[in-house]
């Protein structure tokens, strides 16, 4: 039994739900028929960012027509904690308010409107305390959610001080709201005895299960979580979907009725964490050619009121503060600052983008100071033979990929000729200035928390030869279900429609990690393939017995099973297997090999491999108003041997545009009282169609993964976000034209106001 060459894998197969998407027939949780008697929940929210509750009068809430019940933290049967690990996130605030709009009570009513109206009638009196809101506030209090953490190699301070050239600076990096189009939602349905079934829009069903069980005081086996699809996740439903599922399950338990909680968009903004905003300080020493000799970073990350996933997020910032560059003497430090704001969380890239943006700004500053083309400084500093170990001690074993990739893009984007043309344009154009930048991405693939790098799958073949596929990964639009179905269908030599993709459920595959860290297809693809192979081998043995040939002679192809000169259909073989009492159900399991990171010792290999890419962006800015337009984008990105080029290109384009929003129009504004003022699409601006240029070319770098990842592909979910840094650096390049030779100080996001401020600073130099 040989592995036939793949038929479906590597093909541009359409997303499994595409037709249902375009016809409105793909149900999301709010579209599911509500069980009879379903109650709707709404939350009573804290009116201040910090303080102690002195009185909580819910009389008016209870007396509102339609209200069935009102619950507070006192009613929680189990533990009042929805945190992923540290026990620092109450489901409902007790006496202490930790951030503005923190949930204090929950209302269950017969309609959602009644619940929402009632929830606003709670009288929450609070002894208000000064709220720490900004990074500056947190530095003044010294409060952190986790201990400081640093990597160090060599002797950075003497290396910087001894270098021919030196620079120091501060980089302001804004946060980002996920703005998944489907807001947070859960529908909990009480079952027999104490059992609880929850439909949750989550990237991490297993964690939702554990937290629901914890809150209800149940064993995990009493709780089942299902997620068929999310209307977008982007990290925002990794740790932070559990809160709403827990509330729904809590209310369902206490009322005995199915309960649904769907946040309104404004609440979703106020109550869920964002990408961490940062202030990063650096000192760098380098030689006349811009080659870095020593560098220190201090990353000050605003984590909000609790730890959530900030340990891993800020660690990943540190892991990516080299991006693609060898840093001989280096210290990368971090502070995980505590503020009285919603707890910041995972967001596509998981801290990596902030680290990459920081080092790319340093590279630009070096290039500007030296009068060099930033691309030349980038290339000079790339990891290379003899200079190939990261600040955290991992050998960049696949370093040979990046330089040819960047040089190919440099050629295909016509970078050098455009640089000349832009200089000429800018010399003639006093008001409008153009800018160009080509930046690389190197992104480490694997969870840096080792135990998350495992996955399970469950495959059944039924007696008619149809296949049911289930695995622990979740579908949020990225096409994971499609990719894994391609893999499984190819194992059996079946057309795709013979494989039914079923909702992710904790009672089918237990103890899974989140669908995150770009790892969905790497992990679940492998696990599902193993499950399918187990069944295929059993089927092949039965076929070999029947056809009287060796097992090795059996082939599965086009829905048929061949052995010697004989052929039977896959369905016939399945039926024979059932008759002969051969099990057609199997689980599969996979754990990523070779990863050995030890955080305490700061040694080992955190990543299975790196994914690479590069982008070249051109912009024009209006120096009178700070307005900006992205004119052209060329991308070359490494997906290894792509499992599905259509889906991968979709991830690259979508990731780029999401990164573009982070770095340009998406601005989170908290006021001094800790209230988020940009809490809806009217005030928080994610990219729209016209923000994307007509010239938006994406090519795949066609080189199989050196590691034995599924079909030698590479993960693609997160790395493309950082391709958008090319657009940010292109803006900086346009500003640089106003006073060449001086590093540009541009904060992210580069809103018109930020651009104009940077222009003023540049002109003042």
């Amino acid at each position: 039994m040989d592995d036939a060459p793949p038929v479906l894998v590597h093909q541009a197969i359409t997303h499994d739900s595409a037709i249902r998407h375009v016809t409105g027939a793909a149900p999301y949780i709010d579209d599911l028929p509500e069980p009879a008697g379903t109650l709707h929940l709404a939350l009573g929210l804290a009116p201040v960012a910090r303080g102690r509750i002195t009185t909580l009068d819910l009389e008016k809430v209870r007396n509102t027509p339609g209200v069935v019940a009102v619950f507070t933290s006192k009613d929680v049967p189990g533990r009042n904690d929805v945190s992923p690990s540290l026990g620092d996130e109450p489901m409902l605030a007790g006496d202490e308010i930790s951030f503005h709009s923190q949930p204090v009570f929950v209302v269950a009513a017969t309609t959602r409107r009644a619940a929402r109206i009632a929830a606003r009638l709670g009288a929450i009196e609070v002894e208000q305390e000064w709220a720490s809101v900004s990074i500056a506030d947190a530095l003044s209090t010294g409060e952190t959610v986790l201990p400081d953490y640093a990597f160090r190699r060599g002797h950075p301070e003497p290396a910087i001080d001894g270098a021919a050239r030196r620079l120091a600076g501060e980089i302001e990096i804004g946060g980002q709201e996920h703005f998944y189009l489907e807001g947070q939602i859960a529908l909990a349905v009480p079952g027999e005895g104490e059992a609880m079934f929850v439909h949750s829009s989550t990237q991490h069903p297993s964690e939702v299960q554990h937290i629901v069980a914890r809150v209800l005081g149940l064993a995990d086996h009493q709780v089942t979580i299902e997620c068929r699809r999310m209307g977008g996740g982007f990290g925002g439903k990794e740790s932070q979907a559990s809160h709403w599922a827990a509330l729904a399950a809590f209310a369902a338990r206490l009322t005995g009725k199915p309960c649904k909680l769907r946040l309104d968009r404004d609440e979703d903004f106020a109550l869920t964490g964002k990408r961490h905003d940062f202030l990063s300080r650096y000192r760098v020493g380098y030689d006349e050619r811009g080659l870095i000799e020593g560098i220190t970073f201090e990353h000050l990350a605003r984590c909000g009121y609790s730890a959530d996933l900030s340990l891993g997020v800020v660690d990943r910032t540190m892991f990516h503060s080299d991006n693609a560059y060898y840093l001989p003497h280096v210290e990368i430090g971090s502070k995980r600052l505590k503020t009285n704001t919603v707890s910041n969380t995972a967001f596509r890239g998981f801290g990596g983008p902030q680290g990459v943006l920081a080092i790319e700004q340093v590279i630009d500053a070096i290039a500007h100071e030296r009068g060099l083309d930033p691309l030349d400084v980038r290339k000079a500093n790339f990891y290379r033979d003899g200079s190939s170990v990261t600040p955290y001690g991992m050998e960049v074993f696949d370093r040979a990929t990046l330089l040819p990739l960047v040089e190919a893009l440099e050629a295909s984007s016509d970078y050098r000729a455009r640089r000349i043309a832009i200089a000429e344009h800018n010399a003639r154009s006093p008001i409008l200035k153009r800018g160009l930048a080509l930046t690389p991405v190197k992104f480490g693939i694997s969870f840096t928390l080792k135990h998350l790098n495992q996955a399970g799958a469950l495959v059944h073949v039924y007696s008619d030869g149809s296949v049911m596929l289930n695995h622990g990964g979740t579908e949020m639009g990225q096409g994971l279900y499609t990719k894994v179905a391609q893999i499984v269908a190819d194992e059996f030599g079946l057309p795709l429609e013979r494989v039914a993709i079923t909702a992710t459920r904790t009672d089918k595959v237990p103890n899974t990690g989140p669908t995150a860290a770009s790892s969905g297809s790497d992990l679940n693809g492998m696990a599902a393939r193993e499950a399918a192979r187990t069944i295929r081998l059993r089927m092949a043995e039965e076929a070999a017995r029947r056809l009287d040939v060796a097992v090795s002679a059996i082939r599965f192809e086009d829905g048929l099973v061949h052995g010697g000169d004989e052929t039977m259909t896959f369905a016939e073989l399945a039926r024979f297997c059932v008759l002969e009492r051969v099990s057609l159900s199997a689980t599969g399991y996979y754990r990523t090999p070779g990863i050995t990171w030890d955080r305490a010792e700061k040694t080992g290999r955190p990543f299975f491999y790196f994914a690479y890419g590069a982008a070249c962006s051109e912009v024009v800015i209006d120096t009178m108003t700070g307005e900006m337009k992205l004119l052209a984008v060329d991308i070359l990105h490494d997906c290894g041997a792509s499992l599905n080029p259509a889906l991968d290109i979709g991830q690259i384009e979508g990731g780029f545009v999401q990164g573009l929003g982070w770095l340009t129009t998406e601005e989170l504004v908290f006021d001094n009282e800790g209230r988020l003022r940009t809490h809806a699409p009217s005030t928080y601006k994610i990219p729209v169609a016209s923000d994307v240029p007509a010239h938006f070319h994406v090519e795949l770098w066609d080189e199989p993964n050196r590691e034995d990842a599924i079909y030698r592909s590479k993960a693609v979910g997160e790395p493309p976000v950082m391709l958008a840094i090319s657009a940010f650096m292109a803006i900086a390049d346009a500003i640089h034209a106003l006073a060449p030779g001086n590093p540009v100080q541009l904060r992210a996001p580069a809103t018109p106001e930020a651009i104009l401020d940077a222009i003023d600073r540049q002109r003042a130099k």
Binding site: A25, L181, I431, E667, P681, P752
Partner: protein, 492 residues
């Protein structure tokens, strides 16, 4: 008097005679009609996930308007054919727009997709052929997609809009037109009782009388603002008087010296009319809200709500527009700038309502410019909106009307700046400085989530400089998106 609303739904006439006056179309679809293909993304008319199409008669043709169902009230769809995502495919055959979206991998998570399909479906029937990228971008400006990066959606749009606009809807045009006409009548609508009603009068006198009798009723134009009172403030709208069926308010008169726009004229209908006054107004209107907002929102509503950041007011104040108001049988006209008294306060008595606006065309030797500054180019509220009408005689400024939005508690003229500018030589930028500095005396802007006070003040000065630079005839590029004379193809 009619005691029900009537519309076409799923190919059949539908009549509803009892409903809460504040129920939104989306609530009706999802909760009453179990039509869950249409999604709620933001509940405020900004993301487009809830986009449905209203087909309406226009002479002997049917026109297709994309609207945000989340903030439109159910009562407003009287007389229309309501088309939702579930209507497009038939007997297992996808609509060409749907097929193109599948072919080009235009969906990922799929949650925005029904809205995008409906916007493209409206464009399929309304957009010019061959398609132009900017027109597609404009058609999609009200639909947020967080997954795809839009490229495949553009490709799907180009692909499908290259075909003739023929589908099963165009094939059944005649019978559908007939069905829509059968809904038309001359009666006003009232659902409910004196305490709690949704009313939609047909005639101006009827409207005036009703508003006079219920001065505390909510006057509902396009519901692009009032809809949010319902969805966000959870306001119980007990008495609603909708303007949408009052024929007299939909009047457009394009005269040689001026244009009259009835208060109920939608922003979509006003767009080409205003663009014929000046191309900058066309650019402004294309960036005003989204196709969905312009299809519902009205000229009168944008002015009557008195917002300090409405984009129409500064432009029309600079042009010297006058506002028509009516109370009972009494009418009056006042300069538009005088309508805005203070933040949240307009010169409008209880029971009084806006009937229309007259916009003078700039005379010879008079130049108009307006600029909208926002964080995002499309579908964003201005941080600063500046409008300039400058008359030139012998190379000197002979008259100036300048108005800004976002710079004060109301849209307001820059009277000191105007005065300081008169007499300035256009060819000599040093001569403009007095006026540029006078802006500081005219406005003390505030800081908010859109921009700081400092930025606003700085940009106001820049916009005046930019307007004068352009009027002075600079050959240099002055804008990211070029000012385009009417009839020329617009490129970014």
């Amino acid at each position: 008097m009619r005691r029900s609303i009537r519309f076409i739904f799923r190919g059949m006439p539908r009549e509803i005679s009892a409903f809460d006056p504040s129920i939104t179309l989306l609530e009706w679809l999802r909760l009453e009609a179990s039509a869950t293909g249409t999604k709620e993304g933001c509940n405020e008319g900004d993301c487009g996930a809830c986009t449905v199409v209203l087909a309406k008669t226009d002479g002997d043709r049917i026109r297709y308007f994309p609207v945000n169902a989340c903030i439109l009230l159910l009562g407003q769809i009287d007389g229309a054919e309501l088309l939702t995502i579930e209507d497009l495919a038939k007997d297992g055959t996808l609509h060409p727009v749907q097929a193109a979206m599948v072919r080009h991998h235009g969906s990922q998570c799929g949650f925005c997709t029904p809205g995008i399909v409906m916007s493209l479906f409206a464009a399929f029937h309304e957009a010019p052929r061959p398609p132009d990228r900017e027109a597609i971008g404009t058609a999609l400006a009200g639909n947020l997609c967080r997954c795809t990066g839009y490229r495949p959606i553009f490709d799907a749009a180009f692909d499908v809009l290259s075909d003739l606009p023929e589908d099963r809807f165009s094939e059944s045009n005649a019978s559908r037109l007939e069905a829509l006409r059968a809904l038309e009548d001359d009666r006003g609508i009232v659902i409910g009782n004196e305490d709690r009603f949704f009313a939609s009068p047909r005639h101006l006198d009827e409207l005036a009388e009703m508003i006079a009798r219920h001065p505390d009723a909510t006057i509902l134009a396009g519901s692009t603002d009032v809809g949010l009172w319902v969805t966000k403030k959870l306001a119980p709208l007990k008495r609603v008087i909708a303007l949408g069926r009052v024929a007299a308010l939909a009047t457009v008169v394009e005269g040689s010296d001026s244009v009259f726009l009835g208060a109920g004229v939608t922003l979509a209908k006003a767009l080409p009319v205003l663009e014929r006054i000046d191309p900058d107004l066309g650019t402004l209107m294309r960036r005003f809200g989204s196709a969905q907002v312009r299809a519902s929102g009205t000229v009168g509503g944008n002015i009557a709500n008195g917002s300090p950041i409405g984009d129409l007011a500064p432009a029309l104040i600079a042009l010297g527009a006058t506002l028509h108001l009516r109370i009972g049988k009494e009418s009056r006209i006042l300069p538009l700038e005088d309508f805005f008294v203070a933040y949240g306060k307009q010169d409008r008595a209880p029971g009084e309502f806006v009937t229309g606006i007259t916009v003078p065309r700039p005379e010879a030797e008079t130049h108009f410019r307006c600029f909208k500054i926002s964080k995002r180019m499309d579908e964003d509220i201005s941080s600063v909106m500046g409008a300039f009408r400058i008359s030139i005689e012998n190379g000197a400024v002979s008259g100036a009307r300048i108005a800004f939005g976002g710079m004060a508690a109301t849209p307001r003229r820059a009277l000191r700046t105007e005065e300081a500018l008169v007499g300035a030589m256009l060819a000599n930028p040093h001569d403009w400085m007095g006026a540029v500095q006078a802006l500081e005396a005219d406005y003390q802007p505030i800081s908010d989530m859109r921009a700081s006070a400092r930025y606003r003040a700085r940009v106001a000065r820049a916009l005046l400089g930019k307007a004068l630079t352009e009027i002075a005839g600079s050959s240099r590029a002055t804008r990211i998106v070029a000012r385009t004379p009417i009839g020329e193809v617009r490129h970014g």
